[in-house]
């Protein structure tokens, strides 16, 4: 047998990285969910690329690349900036005890508000074409808002479908953590 050398410099860094992934699996799962929605948004939007996205929110392409790997601990501010840049919501919030009964997932942002108004415009048989819905709102915004919430609560609208398809969220982890 050859003389055994010191272990220093001979270890794979995997164990260190695995421990990090195990400890931080919850938010890494969230980060992956955001990443794949961004990837789908970039794929599905004309003239959108990692470079364009980086320029829009004033970060480097390298940073966007890391975000798309699903390994960045994103701030809410960054998520909001990314969301505005791609014109899509990237996260949603579950209903809670003060929500309307039956509500599932609501993101109370101007974007979904206007989307709701588009639907209302169609339902009312408005004379303007759907898609120009912002023009319809000034007449009776309060009634429109109420109808919008009715639509949301009756699940008439599906908010934030996963663009890649399938149910959001991962499977439950049942394994024991390492000591």
């Amino acid at each position: 047998m050859k003389e055994n050398s010191k272990l220093k410099g001979k270890k794979s860094s995997w164990s260190h990285e695995a421990d990090f992934r195990i400890r931080n699996r919850k938010w890494l799962g969230y980060s992956s969910q955001v990443a794949r929605r961004l990837l789908a948004a970039i794929d599905g939007t004309e003239n959108m690329s990692q470079r364009v996205l980086a320029d829009k929110i004033d970060v480097s392409v390298q940073y966007i690349n890391k975000v798309l790997k699903g390994q960045e601990n994103l701030t809410l501010k960054t998520i909001a900036q990314l969301s505005e840049a791609v014109g899509q919501e990237l996260i949603s919030f579950p209903a809670y005890k003060l929500s309307r009964a039956g509500a599932e997932t609501v993101v109370p942002t101007p974007r979904t508000y206007w989307a709701g108004m588009t639907a209302i415009g169609v339902m009312w048989g408005a004379t303007i074409a759907a898609g120009n819905s912002e023009l319809t709102l000034t007449s009776d915004q309060e009634a429109g808002t109420n109808l919008y919430h009715t639509l949301i609560n009756s699940s008439a609208m599906t908010l934030l479908p996963n663009p890649v398809g399938g149910a959001p969220g991962g499977r439950v982890v049942s394994s024991d953590l390492p000591k």
């Binding site: 995997w14 992934r21 390994q71 399938g166 149910a167």
Partner: protein
């Protein structure tokens, strides 16, 4: 050719990674670490499953979406990492034989007695219909990881199987040529 310890808690390491040249990398890569990097990389998985959407559409996967496939690989990788870290850190649920239980023969029975085939091994997570596969050359009771992949088809293509076997053979032949016969000497290479 170089090797790195995957298990780091004890002097006598039974799980090793080979350091090899991989496409897209300018420097030799820690093969085992790279596999788990890929399986935790959402952009990589997104592109992989788009490229292999036809395989994912096979009835075997019961209509699994790309989104669900990404979730599955991430979950398999996490479960596998937890299992391997538990083995390394001496979790009481994992005895000394745990590693040899997860590494199975790479070849089917009819090919086992040919050449070094007995030393060609494969491992997968302890889950039904798992996608993750890790390939390793068995050497003196240790496993040297030489490759891995996401398996979406029932059988590996002959080219893919030959490619993985060639890497295992190369490692074993190299150790023989260097007159290394003990896993305790892998540190010195």
């Amino acid at each position: 050719m170089k090797f790195r310890r995957i298990f780091v808690e004890k002097g006598d390491c039974r799980l090793w990674s080979s350091i090899g040249a991989l496409q897209g990398f300018s420097k030799p890569v820690d093969v085992f670490k790279n596999l788990f990097d890929q399986w935790n990389d959402t952009a990589y998985l997104y592109q992989f499953f788009q490229a292999y959407a036809a395989d994912l559409a096979d009835p075997f996967w019961r209509g699994m979406s790309i989104d669900e496939a990404i979730d599955q690989v991430r979950q398999e990788a996490l479960d596998f990492e937890i299992e391997l870290r538990n083995m390394d850190t001496g979790h009481p649920a994992y005895g000394p034989e745990a590693l040899s239980n997860i590494f199975q023969f790479f070849d089917k029975d009819m090919y086992l007695l040919q050449g070094n085939n007995l030393h060609h091994k494969k491992a997968k997570p302890d889950l039904q219909d798992s996608m993750i596969r890790i390939y390793a050359a068995e050497f003196d009771g240790a496993y040297i990881v030489t490759g891995g992949l996401l398996k979406l088809t029932k059988q590996l293509t002959p080219d893919a199987a030959a490619f993985e076997k060639a890497k295992m053979k190369r490692v074993l032949q190299y150790l023989k040529s260097e007159k290394v016969y003990s896993r305790l000497d892998l540190d010195t290479i």
